[in-house]
Symmetry: C2
């Protein structure tokens, strides 16, 4: 028996119902049939992302959606501050540079979250900054920043706030309209429970004003205005990956049936259980401000991350993630997004115990699952 | 009973085996599991597209792939000539303008193909032209240009030739390496028999030299160099729509099992049958130089295209296309790409006869299918 168990922080496990939905016969997409799916998805996406703003659906990755937003929200004369606390934060700075946008790239130590005051200081010191972009939940370090506090600061200063919510939207509490987040970017293959292939962007009225008045260069395929106009007609400017939109419609149903507060609670419970288990078995938590959508563990001295990942995969079919860039070989990451529940987390911890035991790590067998069980009992 | 029968010139019918393949459980994509699919697809795509050049796979539409190629192949100082003979030809000129590329947009009457001599004259008259882009099979008018003859001209002049082969690649004879086509662009949802979501670009060594030496602006998400480098490792620069690549792998198998010469022959036979049938029932062929991948019919006087399309769809589940822009309401289009064979064409013609009859068109019932049958008998 060989099971596939996706615990990677994207792509995440997809419900069988979604896969089957995508395999059903389809019609042409310039039809009421497809427009109905688009309309349904629009309504449901707003509920899942907790926003009243339209949510643009782009055939491409989350990076594609972010690129469209970065180009659109930075007209000539803009200055963007990017907060880079990991691999994905870096990408937004790179995109800005590629398109000749005046960008201040503020790097911080990986595994830490930006102190909102630092952003406040930047905005005070440099009034030319028009836009701030950061990653809400940095997947590469499993770290969450305080987006709500940051939104208060950027709003008070009248600046645009662009947030990469690729591993937060649909998994963690996120209230862009209340928090003053102007652009929410996300992707398909994380908490939204569908395979990769779609990116999403939702813009506030203030952000749309900037995009509409942008006299500089616009993207073509990633042109947000085009996507917006077509979106209002429940259509897309270019041929969409319509089977994925159909799958999305199904996945959103499942999320809304559970209720967003309940989804957030489930994810938080899984993460708390994983952290408690990790500490119990000598796999301490790497992040100084852990995100609940993915947990990064420091691995025990003398035990190699690739060996752990290999053991998890070969023996139990569990796909995990290691570290990226300079964290390669230093951390092990397990995701809590997608079609996984609390018992899947217990399973993953049990498997991790088995693998560590085989690799010679000294710890009390069962202490991880016991710690996890205690967290679950308290919270469920 | 309600069947769905896709005769639109994209998206086209997809084999059930491909849909089922895409619904199977999946692993993470940064793994040997996915790299093996990529490697297989690469080998098979080269065979299907009849090229020795790498074929880049981009998560996005054919337009996305074209945009990447247009930006990459037009470094500062370039001048691009676009031949615009329909809706898709226009798009390439629009993209060039959007990115500030010096472009000469040569429009011709819709439904006609460019005379290769016109291109030769342009290149002679204006040595600053570095690049020529055109649409091999213009879907909006069902018209084919003589790409082989044009390739001879651009090659002799030492110019780059970019060809939108979105409705030719995999359906019609296309030999980019022999013909001197520098860039072949195509999309998933036409002859390649998978749902929409992927775009493809294949570049000659000469084109790569231009892209690599391009000191101007590059795209980020649609950056061909990034895609190329990752492609050599059987990977992608951004999260790919991996279930579609898996479906593609299956569809390519089916095409190669049939053999490309046989696929081309089948498509040509279906088109010839459709044209003969159309002429027999008073639906003459619109194009002055018809493509075999899609047929555009002039409809009988007094019979409205939307009524025909509605009848085809409501009674027989057949999805067809009308005209675009100024051809709206003037032509009816039926595709011959994807998972359709000669008997599907007979079925579509029989249905068309029934609908025209109901709408009051005077013609000899059965003459369309008879004409089609005769063509099939001669060719099969």
């Amino acid at each position: 028996m060989k099971k596939i168990r996706l615990f990677t922080p994207g792509p995440c496990a997809v419900p069988e119902d979604v896969l089957v939905e995508m395999a059903r016969p389809f019609e042409h997409h310039r039809t009421p049939w497809f427009k109905d799916f688009m309309k349904q998805c629009q309504t449901k996406l707003k509920e899942v992302l907790q926003t009243k703003n339209e949510v643009l659906i782009i055939t491409g990755s989350g990076t594609a959606a972010a690129e469209g937003a970065i180009i659109g929200c930075n007209p000539p004369g803009s200055r963007m501050l990017t907060i880079e606390s990991g691999k994905f934060g870096q990408r937004w700075g790179e995109i800005a540079e590629q398109f000749g946008i005046d960008v201040i790239r503020h790097e911080i130590e990986w595994g830490t979250a930006i102190d909102p005051q630092v952003i406040a200081d930047y905005l005070k010191k440099d009034p030319k900054i028009t836009t701030v972009m950061l990653t809400h939940s940095e997947t590469s370090t499993a770290t969450l920043c305080d987006l709500e506090a940051i939104g208060k600061i950027t709003n008070a200063a009248g600046k645009l706030l662009l947030a990469d919510c690729i591993t937060s939207a649909g998994a963690l509490p996120l209230k862009p309209d209340d928090w003053g987040v102007d652009v929410v970017i996300t992707g398909a293959q994380k908490a939204l429970m569908i395979p990769p292939g779609l990116g999403f962007a939702s813009l506030s009225e203030r952000a749309w004003e900037v995009v509409r008045n942008n006299k500089g260069q616009h993207a073509y395929y990633l042109n947000l205005i085009k996507a917006y106009k077509k979106g209002l007609e429940n259509d897309t400017p270019f041929t969409p990956a319509h089977i994925m939109i159909r799958g999305l419609n199904k996945a959103l149903d499942m999320m809304l049936e559970e209720g967003m507060e309940n989804v957030w609670k489930r994810v938080a419970t899984m993460a708390a259980a994983a952290r408690a288990a990790g500490e119990a078995i000598g796999c301490t938590v790497f992040s100084k401000r852990p995100s609940d959508s993915v947990t990064a563990f420091n691995t025990p001295a003398g035990i190699k991350v690739p060996d752990i990942r290999k053991g998890l995969k070969e023996r139990f079919g569990i796909q995990s993630a290691g570290g990226q860039e300079h964290l390669k070989g230093k951390i092990l990451r397990l995701g809590h997004m997608g079609y996984v529940d609390e018992m899947d987390t217990v399973l993953a911890i049990a498997a991790l115990e088995q693998v560590l035991y085989k690799l010679g790590h000294k710890f009390e067998l069962g202490s991880g699952v016991t710690a996890a069980q205690k967290v679950l009992a308290e919270r469920m």
